[in-house]
Symmetry: C3
Subunit: 216 residues, 3 copies
């Protein structure tokens, strides 16, 4: 199996895992078959679509390579039909999800760097590639994105994207160091799950007055 074949296989595995996470969330919200497949599609490919739009790689890979959309749709359909059995695989899903997180962070950061995005921007794009689909999934299912509420998740991704940028500056963009970076994200995420690590939350405080309506 060549490197590129290995990469594609890994990439599609990540797509399948994230599609499953989206589909199971949609099933829990009682969405219909189409809704389940659609949320699975967004969870699996949303981050990558955002990444490709931002680095001007159009049409985004999700639309340019049929294997991505089909993998996401088929996986979501399977979850729709077999979700009770699937629910028992929750731990497996969490582990695969952590693997997908590491993978998408690294590939997203690399694509941004190849597209001449400066270091800081590439770190953000890499992280957004990894968490973007989950954000879309939660918005579509009417949830405040879980990634913003608790757990070390996006932080693990950010750690990975920063590592990739550093490796890139050091000229260490071979398979070995990049795999190590992905493993770092994977490891941090698993330990965070295991130890129930969470990012701090500000001390409670009642809302007072009105907040500014704006922002840009």
């Amino acid at each position: 199996m060549t490197t590129s074949t290995a990469l594609l296989f890994a990439d599609l595995t990540g797509v399948a895992v994230f599609a499953a996470s989206g589909a199971s969330a949609a099933v829990a919200k009682r969405l219909d078959l189409f809704g389940v497949i659609f949320v699975g599609f967004v969870a699996a490919l949303g981050g990558g679509i955002f990444r490709d739009l931002v680095i001007d790689e159009v049409p985004p890979l999700a639309f340019a390579d049929w294997r991505y959309a089909v993998t996401a749709a088929v996986t979501a359909g399977i979850v729709f039909w077999f979700h009770p059995q699937f629910a028992r695989l929750r731990t497996t899903v969490l582990v695969l999800d952590a693997a997908g997180l590491g993978l998408f962070t690294i590939t997203g950061t690399l694509k941004a760097l190849e597209a001449q995005v400066p270091a800081v921007g590439a770190c953000f794009i890499g992280m957004l590639t990894a968490i973007g689909g989950g954000l879309g999934r939660d918005l579509l299912t009417g949830e405040i994105p879980v990634v913003l509420r608790r757990e070390i998740y996006a932080v693990a991704a950010l750690l990975g994207s920063v590592t990739v940028v550093v490796l890139d500056f050091a000229g260490l963009t071979g398979p070995a160091p990049l795999t190590a970076a992905a493993a770092l994200v994977f490891g941090v995420r698993l330990i965070a799950l295991r130890r129930r690590w969470s990012a701090p939350v500000a001390t409670a405080q009642p809302r007072v007055g009105r907040r500014p309506a704006g922002g840009s």
Copy 2:
């Protein structure tokens, strides 16, 4: 009336219909005049903006041709002022909405194919062009997108986009076959409304444990 004039007229009719659907949803949510016009704008042009970003046709038509934005804004304003009378037209709106669905599916798929997007990607882009505005409308009004919850709606669009791709491969992209494809979407949607067809929903099941935070 030339073909292109006919197409523009049909296109703007679809814009007006979708703007009306967005505006009526916004009125029901007690949004102010600006909010009603904004949601109407998103419902009418959101899908097309997404389509144009994905196929790199920038600035998107919604910003490049003033007639689109003005049609959406004026229609939404009319709904704001006359919504009680408008509410009585619900059936008419549903029929016009089905017509808009067919139209936007066909034009969206064709534009994707012309932009050299491969077949599968073009099908998804065509469908997203047709349902994207409705998704945006529901997200802005704090609803889980109705298109994900019930009814044959997006599926009718997908059926139409697949048809267009097949016709394109067969070289049948003249007005007649394309009109037939639009009519197919229109018909399926109307029958689904009439017969209250819905996509299947997975058997109920209580949420257990935490779901993965991720996705890309």
Copy 3:
């Protein structure tokens, strides 16, 4: 201080203000540190990212110039740690927010015109640049965007973007007239806050039947 330095300084001030508005909304929703920084990032840079995608200026400034992302992240972090004291500055924030609104409206409209976007489209893009971040902030925190519900906010921005387009046609795009346009938005917004001006809301009416599922 040169004009461009002044502009960058003003721009980053607007970024900081909007990041603060996003962060305070996130703190109120009990999001964790990452969530607060992320929502601050979206509130500060979301509108600009949308603007740059639509005018095909990629990668968007938010990713191309590290000072934007860092300003947003640092400001949000400060709000996270000092939000009780920050809450007391609410009036100050509202005033700064109004200033940011004026600034982003003007720069957004100008960039759209420079990118050859026609007048009407440029007006919408300028307004969306100014309100887009606030929309993203509210969607991420599970709120129907406040800008759609009440207050003269987006309307002030629209007034400013139309003014800029008119000035541009008149060839008056020097610092003086543009500053006047920004001051106009700033003033209208402050007076609206002071006088509690609101856009009209349609008379109440119970939802009947189902609304169309569509839109594009």
